[in-house]
Symmetry: C2
Subunit: 202 residues, 2 copies
DNA sequence: TACTTTATTGTCCCATGGGTCAATAATTGA
DNA sequence: TCAATTATTGACCCATGGGACAATAAAGTA
């Protein structure tokens, strides 16, 4: 275990600053100067650690994704059954510390660049593949094989749609509301053996 | 019926050009110069008809939304029952001429600005209220009152989520796939009296 | 201690793009 | 026909922001 390198520390600080500025200002408004200010440094330092703006925000997206992934993994490690694994995935995606309008705004800004930034598209693809594989590993034990695909797509679309609503909403959509919606879906879409337990816990 | 005013024609041309550039370039890349070029005019003309860039893209969003609304209204006018109305809303939202990655890219670019552009937020709110009201007017005849809210939210979230996937996807998600997913949801979530007919037609 | 590498800053450059404006062309309307 | 309005252009201005760079400070290394 060696000491933390200063470059790693700085990079992390800058990635986070970048993500925070993105929440407030969007991609166009997120200038290197603002990111530097947010991190309490000068613009030069940003370009010392990242080759250019794209690379900075690519790493910011990577880190935000990693945080979400870790939240899901932590819950998955406690899950003891396919149903619990499914719940772990879903609840991880709606943890209150993530499920905030400002966080969604940053994600939206990043997603809007995906079509023109191959690096962001790759990250997006990884996120999506992981979600799918996580879901399938639970669903195959709960549903006839030919239905798994449909339900996996339904769950991911619902999660994305609820997140989008969080970012665009005027009314307050809470983490609890979102989870209630997900349980509503599962309770109707999974075989009744699983359905009741999902409904029960809220 | 008076002759078409040239200013109305120009405005429409420019709104459409703006939307097309948005599809390719995103918000930051959609410069007034590119919009003008897309419309076959000069930059000056854009600012002659629109006070500034925000106003231009606000009108572009309005027009795109109107097109979608009209598609839904046209289908609603043919619907003879609550179930048909529900199908009209859903199918209108996945018409192939709209449900294209490039169109989704433009929407994404606009949605990403919503948090910082009150005008866009207002349009977004109108869209959302209309969707909700359309859905509720059908659902109240199909479900116990206390479930309508949940299903309306489920449908909107699914639609948004499927659209988002269209824009971010690597794999090809078609209009048919999306509709199949929506029918899968309805067939499990609506009372079985309605469920079978939804499943039957694909 | 002296030398090298890394961290950090502030300055400078330059392309870009939004917006203004004056000049000109086309239309309209009396 | 002629004046007034509207359409259209291109030149110009200027703030902004990404990125390069040289200079300096700090840290590590021998």
């Amino acid at each position: 275990m060696r000491l933390a390198k200063i470059s790693d520390i700085r990079k992390r600080e800058l990635r986070r600053a970048a993500f925070e500025v993105l929440q407030r200002e969007g991609m166009a408004g997120a200038t290197l100067e603002k990111v530097a200010a947010q991190a309490g440094a000068s613009k030069g330092i940003v370009l010392h650690y990242f080759a250019n703006k794209q690379e900075l925000f690519e790493h910011a997206m990577r880190e935000a994704n990693a945080a979400l992934r870790d939240a899901v993994v932590a819950r998955l490690n406690l899950a003891r059954s396919p149903l619990e694994r499914l719940e772990a995935i879903i609840e991880g995606n709606f943890e209150e510390r993530f499920f905030q309008p400002s966080v969604c705004h940053a994600w939206l800004a990043l997603c809007a660049e995906v079509p023109r930034e191959p690096q962001l598209a790759r990250i997006q693809k990884v996120i999506h593949m992981r979600m799918r594989s996580n879901l399938m590993s639970a669903l195959v034990h709960m549903l006839p094989e030919e239905e798994c695909e449909a339900v996996a797509l339904g769950i991911t679309a619902l999660i994305d749609g609820l997140w989008l609503r969080l970012g665009l909403q005027t009314e307050r959509l809470t983490s609890k509301d979102a989870l209630r919606q997900m349980r509503d879906y599962l309770s109707h879409r999974l075989p009744s053996a699983f359905a009741q337990s999902s409904v029960a816990d809220l």
